[in-house]
Amino acid sequence: MIRQAAAAILSGQRRSLASVARASANHHGYLPNTHSPIVAKPHFFNSVTEDGQQIPTYRVLDGTGKPLDGAELPEVNETLAHKLYENMQLLPTLDNILYNVQRQGKISFYMTSYGEEATIIGSAAALDMEDEVLGQYREMGVLLWRGYTLDKVMAQCFGHSEDLGKGKQMPVHFTAPEHHFHTISSPLGTQIPQAAGVAYALRRTPERRSRSIAACYFGEGAASEGDFHAGLLLASTIPSPALFIVRNNGFAISTPSTEQFYGDGIASRGPGYGIDTIRVDGNDVLAVLAAVKEARRRCLEQGRAVLLEAMTYRVGHHSTSDDSFAYRARSEVEDRKRIDNPITRFRLFMESQGWWNAEREEDLKARLKADVLKAFKRAESMPRCELKELFADVYGGEEPWNIKAQREELKGLLRKYGDSWEPWQTELAKFKNKGRDLLD
């Protein structure tokens, strides 16, 4: 059912172009070596739909949580609905606390997911747990869906000794191979061609071929990078089961999407690369869930890329380094939170099904907050990794001489000044063993 609903949208986009081609093809034949019909009149075009309309947006639930006329509900039972809702609520719970923790100077940086909960959780729920995920930086919810613990979230954001990444990256730059989640990298769009390679590797791995895809997330801003075009082209031309999920949240830091592109969003680019494409209401968790499921099925069936553009709105600032009221009105944000809140929309749906009520809401919020605070408090007192990790993991295999020599040089300096130079003493105290691994 889900499949039919989403497939109808996908195929609808091609109809009008196809009819133009059919109308003219019989008269003049085709250009040699292509299927391009020859026409006698000059014909310019500038729209995927050809009739000038924008690419449609697939939606299941309206703003009040009621199914649209003609929409088919994906198969969601009470248990799945609870899991979706709990994860959607966990994101702002974490965001509220970690945003404030950053403001208190306890972590150096943070990025919230406010407003994009349905896009992130709905897509996470539609993926297989073993699909490889290549995120941009606002996809912590995918990890939460997969069972990444709050302690691990805190470990990364605090960069303490339990962080798998050893405190080397800024907060929210997660890495979790146990959850098939590739390391977040700050440069934008670099993960997009990598996803094509990951997907090709999946095709070439017998036990994962036709079972796993690469799911690649990025924003509409990152889609301006050359890597976006390279990645989609590669995953289409060298057929690779990669699902590209664009979070079109309206802003790249301060730059509104109206200044990011002139064409019809990011979805309009998919057909240019010959890949199946859909635009979905990113604030409707059921639409995202249904569309990603169908997109994933196509990835596996065709062994080729699919593009999904989720239309949403970045309610939060870009990051803790940004104050978005310098470039957008506070009222615009407040309006969006009120009128088009993805969490509210799904809660209204659950209430209409008799799956949710005010009491459960209160219990959930209290429990999530307590869980996050507990994890935060535990993390707060944890030391960093050992200082020697500074030089670790530059290379695998034999360590080159220059790294060895520089470690020795720092050891020598620490032995001389580590116990007497106040700025270094203070800093060393933050590390596990207080830096003695290099001092002694």
């Binding site: 150096s108 940086f109 990025m111 990256q169 800024m170 929210v172 700050s186 301060s254 520089q406």
Partner: protein, 427 residues
């Protein structure tokens, strides 16, 4: 605009001072150590600002003689981002002189062909360097670009090829690599490959550089060395507001494409009185900040201030580390040079100094291997071989990425510079 994510922005400055280990030490018995905020190298009076060495006034009447006079010229207190913005534009009522005629002449006002663009430039840029420019000069001349560094630089080259003045911003130097092809294969080779028929001299690429203390791998890099082999480009790194304005104006008007790297920790922390008139400081020219006879310390950008602190520590070591500073070296006269231009670099000033002092310590934040210091050390060794009393010493970031939690042990701070000076003097 990457995680840009990470873009440590507005609050960065407050945090920055905190992360500079030079500033953290409590006042030692010998008195306060200079930090960026208290640096003696900053010109905080009008008199000293107007007498910045080799300042060249670019007065409105270009047909008249250059006026060397400083009388009547005004200065205003600015931090580095304000000085950068002032160079691109210059604003405010003092733009008009007493007779009401325009006397300011800075780029957007003077050059109708000048445009300023990059990611998030319209609202002022993530470091505020373009604040107010879009409102004043219109969105046709000051505009946001889509998020594509290769596109931004290629676009700028196209403008420059048509004789226009392109001032492009790459939001962080860490994100300049998608534009590496456009810079190295195109901008740098534009003149040579056409036999001089075309050039990209109208292009200036501004980009924030160096570490702030919590930027991690992708908001801390110093990529100047990667461009050092790209003959045809110039690479400039200012240390202060006056330097930023004068060097940026020279870079914009230089007949060659220039990569202009602005140390982001200094955007707010470094404050000077900056002449409001149009002036330039020379490219390809180092500046000797402190004259000395026993050891040359050569650096650029943020570490200039760590080196200044290290000079004070050498002369008057804090008691906690005094045992590591033999009394014999405490009276050494250290010559401190700010290289300012990384490509081409001022080999004359550097080698003249090293021939006198016989000792050289080079300090930069980029990693040691193939950093700019390697090139300089090789040339100094060739030209000063018989005058050297000690090996050329480099104090640099390690050959590792800039791991966030380890940053304070990665950057070349005052204590490491001090140790290198002691070692080189005692060799």
């Amino acid at each position: 605009m990457y995680a840009r994510s990470a873009r440590p922005l507005r609050r960065a400055a407050n945090v920055l001072a905190r992360f500079n280990s030079t500033t953290v030490e409590p006042p030692p018995a010998g008195g306060h150590l200079p930090s960026v905020a208290t640096s003696q190298l900053l010109r905080t009076t009008r008199e000293s600002a107007l007498r910045a060495p080799r300042i060249k006034w670019i007065d409105e009447d270009s047909t008249g003689p250059v006026k060397p006079v400083v009388g009547g010229r005004e200065t205003r207190k600015m931090n580095t981002y304000q000085a950068v913005r002032d160079a691109m534009r210059y604003g405010g009522e003092s733009c008009l002189n007493s007779s009401g005629s325009k006397k300011c002449s800075i780029v957007l006002l003077k050059d109708d062909n000048a445009v300023v663009f990059g990611e998030d430039v319209s609202f002022g840029g993530v470091f505020r360097c373009t604040m107010g420019l879009a409102e004043e000069f219109g969105r046709e001349r000051v505009f946001n670009t889509p998020l594509t560094e290769q596109g931004i630089v290629g676009f700028g080259i196209g403008l420059a090829a048509m004789g226009h003045t392109a001032i492009a911003e790459i939001q962080f130097a860490d994100y300049i690599y998608p534009a590496f092809d456009q810079l190295v294969n195109e901008a740098a080779k534009f003149r040579y490959r056409s036999g001089g028929a075309y050039n990209a001299g109208g292009l200036t690429v501004r980009t924030p550089t160096m570490a702030v203390g919590h930027g991690g791998l992708y908001h801390s890099q110093s990529p100047e060395g990667f461009f050092m082999g790209a003959a045809g480009l110039k690479v400039v790194i200012p240390r202060s507001p006056i330097q930023a304005k004068g060097l940026l104006l020279a870079a914009i008007r230089d007949p060659n494409p220039v990569v202009f790297m602005e140390p982001k920790v200094l955007y707010r922390s470094a404050v000077e009185q900056v002449p409001i008139d149009d002036f330039e400081l020379p490219l390809g020219s180092a500046e000797t900040l402190v004259a000395g006879a026993d050891l040359t310390v050569l650096t650029w950008g943020t570490p200039v201030y760590h080196c200044e602190a290290a000079l004070h520590m050498l002369a008057n070591p804090p008691p906690s580390i005094a045992t590591h500073v033999p009394s014999a070296v405490r009276g050494a006269k250290i010559e401190l040079i700010d290289l300012r231009s990384i490509l081409p670099w001022d080999v004359e000033t550097v080698t003249e100094s090293v021939k006198r002092t016989g000792r050289l310590v080079i300090v930069h934040e980029a990693g040691m291997t193939a950093g700019a210091g390697a090139e300089i050390a090789a040339e100094v060794q060739k030209r000063c071989f018989l005058k050297l009393n000690a090996p050329v010493k480099r104090v640099t970031g390690w050959d590792t990425p800039c791991g966030m939690q380890y940053e304070k042990f990665n950057i070349p701070d005052a204590i490491r510079v001090l140790d290198a000076m002691v070692e080189t003097l005692s060799y």
